[in-house]
């Protein structure tokens, strides 16, 4: 099991990468364009032009930025609240990424590499956040209890 410090660092880096991807999609689309696919093709154009690219009138990528920023904050913060909030946010992000990937594959019939990149980042963030939460939640409690026990002795 990696130390919590390592897990928080990995989560922070992944969240920063996610902010980069989501910001790129948002900026390009707000300029009226569509994200360029690195290997050519027009999957991003198709996905960006579909009616599913907006949620209540707001670009889905904006929700992505918010999610990644929350994950970055939870990686920077210590304690149980940060651990649980990080896991909950990653769960929301992962669940919505699964739904968006389903839309790309079976409804829109097009795959956008930038969306796939975000989905992969969110999956990794869920794994890291889960390791952190399940491995270290209550750590202060345990060490506190151990200290109290030592005092008694």
């Amino acid at each position: 099991m990696p130390s919590e410090r390592v897990l928080r660092t990995i989560a922070g880096v992944l969240a920063l990468a996610g902010i980069g991807v989501a910001t790129y999609i948002t900026v390009v689309e707000s300029g009226g364009g569509a994200p360029q696919c690195l290997a050519g093709g027009h999957g991003c154009e198709t996905v960006a032009s579909s009616s599913y690219s907006h949620l209540a009138g707001v670009n889905v990528a904006v929700f992505g930025i918010v999610g990644y920023v929350l994950l970055l904050l939870s990686a920077l913060a210590a304690g149980d609240v940060a651990r649980i909030a990080g896991l909950a946010t990653a769960l929301v992000g992962f669940g919505f990424s699964v739904y968006l990937t389903y839309l790309e594959l079976f409804v829109i019939d097009a795959i956008c590499q930038w969306c796939v990149a975000s989905a992969v980042l969110m999956t990794l963030l869920l794994i890291v956040s889960a390791l952190r939460a399940f491995g270290y939640a209550g750590a202060e409690l345990m060490s506190g209890a151990r200290a109290a026990h030592a005092d008694e002795l």
Partner: protein
């Protein structure tokens, strides 16, 4: 905070996370695309046909092209549909995509008794899509899902499904735009232009270029190519 309390909070957070995902999906399905486009024919075909070609309002292709091919058509018209599915793909690929000619489709409502309510509803829905750069996607997808003329299939639900399938980004704005009174003037102008040009039915074509004008009724691709060469 003891371990038990921590477990309760974690469970609550996980439950909230699941609820949040459910809410996001519901909002996406309600506001973004209801999935209605999955029932439509040829969504991918239309997308592929128009991919990468610029759209300016009702004009497809380079708006500064020397030659302009202007079609006067009614979305309910089955002959227009046949033109759209059988001839327009080659016209777009051979003349519009390379920039030889631009292609405009003017809504000329002729089907049904005046005021041609169903055709006008369809025309205004397509024109509203032009406000978001999806006019041609709307027109082509409409034709590929056209019902029997005046059978009542042109409902709000049908028009909305076409809008979603055509990739109109903001359905709320499209819904407001299609109710705009400015389309009445545009439809009236098409009427008078068609009358001035002596058109008798849809689809009719005006081909304009530096070399003059040609008018055509329900032409073949050869007819249009000939007219384009003549006015170039």
């Amino acid at each position: 905070m003891d371990r038990r309390r921590l477990g309760q909070i974690a469970s609550g957070a996980a439950f909230l996370a699941v609820c949040a995902v459910a809410v996001l999906i519901v909002v996406s399905l309600a506001g973004g695309g209801s999935g209605g486009d999955t029932d439509l024919e040829d969504v991918a075909v239309v997308r592929e046909q128009l991919r990468g070609i610029p759209q300016h309002g009702t004009v497809l292709g380079d708006p500064n092209a020397q030659v302009k091919v202007i079609e006067f058509a009614d979305l309910q018209c089955p002959v227009c549909r046949n033109f759209s599915t059988q001839i327009a793909p080659d016209l777009i690929a051979q003349l519009v995509r390379p920039g030889t000619a631009s292609y405009e489709l003017r809504q000329w409502t002729v089907i049904g008794d005046p005021p041609h309510t169903q055709s006008a509803e369809a025309a205004m829905a397509a024109l509203a899509a032009s406000e978001q750069g999806r006019y041609w996607n709307y027109v082509e997808l409409f034709y590929r899902n056209q019902g029997d003329e005046e059978s009542g299939y042109v409902t709000d639900a049908f028009l909305t499904a076409i809008a979603k399938g055509a990739g109109v980004p903001d359905i709320g704005k499209w819904n407001r735009d299609r109710r705009s009174s400015k389309w009445d003037r545009i439809l009236a102008r098409s009427d008078s232009e068609a009358a001035d040009l002596g058109f008798a039915g849809t689809p009719s074509f005006l081909v304009e270029g530096p070399g003059g004008k040609r008018t055509l009724a329900a032409p073949t691709l050869d007819d249009i190519e000939g007219a384009v060469r003549a006015v170039e």
